[in-house]
């Protein structure tokens, strides 16, 4: 009897410790990024947000082109990806038992787990090589492919969560299926769909791998057109960390803090307004 009780206590102590070990890295990461990044932001001031990259071993300069690039890429990716994603999600929700509907649902789940570097490589081959240059368009296309499954799956789940009587009521009014979905159901599911859109945006704003061979990564020029290379904050951090210069490491930490803040600003409100998110 005693052995059982001891085992029980040890078990509770064990899983408590492991639980705190699970989330410990998060606090360590936030702490490290804040401690290393905040002095950089304070020292760099407004110029850090608007300026262009400093030369090696010479001050901080700024990460303006990367910030502009991240917004441009996210915006373009949304234009390319959202309509297709939402319509695909509607199909999967409206025809869940058709062959195409089932297959679509499975494909979306697979695409969610798909290694993002492979998407970048694919877009390089079909867009960058024929165009002869890295471009904002290529980066945005890669991000759109990464974003689509999240938005589609959220749309599908939001629509399927609507009680049947609304759909029946709408049909009873004599509306066509098109009007039932777009006039009635979309409105009821708008919160779920919006959540999917925001999760998708938060996801791609922080993506690095799909941009490696598509966006090109401009650090000293701002947005020059969708057929020209463009920078992005995650891409800039990745490049700077691999440089041997101390000031570049400082800039990378500053950029990380900024990226972390952007991510939390989008993600936290969504998460706190919901019980559960899918990432």
């Amino acid at each position: 009897m005693l052995a059982r009780k001891v085992k029980d206590k040890l078990f509770i102590a064990g899983i408590t410790i492991l639980t705190f070990l699970t989330i410990l890295p998060l606090f360590h990461i936030i702490f490290s990024v804040a401690v290393e990044g905040l002095p950089v932001l304070l020292k760099g001031g407004w110029d850090f947000i608007t300026g262009t990259l400093a030369p090696p071993d010479d001050g901080l300069g700024g990460i303006g082109p990367a910030i502009v690039g991240t917004f441009v890429l996210t915006f373009l990716a949304s234009i390319l990806g959202l309509p297709i994603a939402i319509l695909t999600g509607i199909y999967a929700a409206e025809y869940p038992n058709s062959l195409l509907g089932k297959a679509t649902k499975t494909l979306l789940m697979i695409m969610m787990e798909f290694p993002t570097i492979l998407v970048g490589l694919f877009v390089m081959q079909i867009l960058v090589v024929p165009m002869g240059s890295y471009s904002a368009l290529a980066g945005a296309l890669a991000l759109a492919i990464v974003m689509m499954p999240y938005v589609a799956v959220y749309t599908e789940e939001a629509l399927r969560g609507i009680p049947k009587k609304y759909r029946e009521g709408a049909f009873a009014l004599g509306l066509t299926r098109f009007n039932v979905v777009f006039r009635v159901l979309i409105g009821l599911a708008r919160k779920g769909i919006l959540t999917g859109v925001l999760i998708g945006i938060a996801k791609v704003a922080g993506e690095t791998a799909p941009l490696l061979f598509t966006a090109g990564g401009a650090t000293r020029t701002y947005f020059e057109g969708i057929n020209r290379p463009v920078g992005a904050i995650p891409l800039l951090i990745y490049d700077l960390v691999q440089q041997p210069y101390k000031n570049y490491h400082e800039i990378a930490w500053g950029a990380s803090l900024l990226l972390l803040l952007i991510f939390l600003a989008i993600f936290l409100p969504i998460r706190l307004s919901l019980k559960e998110v899918r990432l």
Partner: protein, 304 residues
């Protein structure tokens, strides 16, 4: 008469577009890696050589080291994620004080969504030095006769660093799947187990047996995530063509190989096809693992 559903006809092309994109991707990977298969056959996957040369005659590529490194680091990640994610799920659902439940779940959800480059910079500048000083050096000094610990950790960039970082990154993801399954166990089962006089330890053991397929699914999907992760890994794994049993040895992974070499691959004759072949192997491993994971998850959901 069967009337054609206009709405369906309007939406179907968009689904088709997504499918087309995915199939096009598969075709591009096969077609782009074809030259290397014609030249080397399966040697691209079974040898560890990386001979880049201006003269295409002298080029030879074998990506075995990268495949080995990908599997090695992802297995390490899963070994770390397994105990952590199960403990977290059980603690949060059954034993955490009410006030702590929500904050704990929010914390892991933030971890699951956090941009991977932030894990990367933290891994390269913070985690690697810590691991080197407190884990690798002591183990190497005292236990270097064991093959696992036999490599002298000079820089700290190694399979272990990549495995630990990946483990941290995929734990919240695995835990979210296991957590949902554990929560879904009917309350009556819990009552029944306790009514038999089980301790909390025994009850948890029995209840975990009930969600075994979901645990397997969580682990498989976590493995799929780990093997596809790129930037965080490439900043800590060392990026050296190396097949070594030791945890402390630097290596390569498929994704970090692509990230590092693809930028200048176009100046060589066969490097691009070689990297596409590496990508194809990742494509297929990822697809197989994730499909298996999704199947387990579906089986669990239908069994309920």
């Amino acid at each position: 008469m069967v009337r054609m559903d206009k709405f369906k006809a309007f939406l179907a092309p968009f689904c088709g577009l997504v499918f087309g994109l995915f199939i096009l991707m598969l075709i591009v990977y096969f077609a782009s890696s074809l030259p290397i298969f014609e030249r080397e056959g399966l040697a691209i996957y079974t040898t560890n050589v990386w001979k880049a040369s201006e003269n295409p005659k002298n080029e030879f590529y074998g990506v075995l080291a990268a495949i080995y490194g990908s599997v090695y680091t992802s297995v390490l990640a899963v070994l770390i994620a397994l105990p952590l994610s199960i403990s977290f799920a059980v603690f949060v659902i059954d034993y955490a004080p009410k006030r702590l439940k929500e904050p704990l779940m929010v914390a892991t959800d933030i971890m699951a969504g956090l941009p991977t480059i932030i894990y990367g910079i933290w891994g390269a500048f913070v985690l690697v030095p810590i691991l080197k000083k407190y884990v690798m050096m002591p183990l190497y000094e005292h236990f270097s006769f064991i093959p696992l610990f036999s490599f002298k950790p000079s820089t700290g960039y190694s399979y272990l660093s990549a495995g630990v970082l990946l483990g941290i990154m995929v734990t919240p993801f695995a835990s979210a799947i296991i957590r949902e399954a554990y929560r879904s166990i009917p309350y009556i089962y819990r009552e029944g187990v306790y009514a038999l006089g089980a301790t909390r330890y025994e009850a948890t053991k029995i209840l975990l047996g009930y969600i075994k397929p979901a645990i397997v699914a969580g682990i498989l999907l976590a493995f799929g995530r780990a093997i596809g992760e790129t930037v965080a890994v490439s900043l800590v794994v060392g990026n050296v063509f190396n097949i070594h049993p030791s945890l402390f040895a630097p290596g390569y992974t498929i994704s970090s190989l692509i990230a590092n070499q693809f930028g200048n691959a176009y100046i060589y004759g066969y490097m691009v096809p070689a990297l596409f072949a590496a990508g194809l192997s990742l494509f297929i491993i990822g697809l197989a693992v994730n499909l298996a994971g999704l199947m387990y998850l579906r089986r669990f959901k239908h069994a309920r």
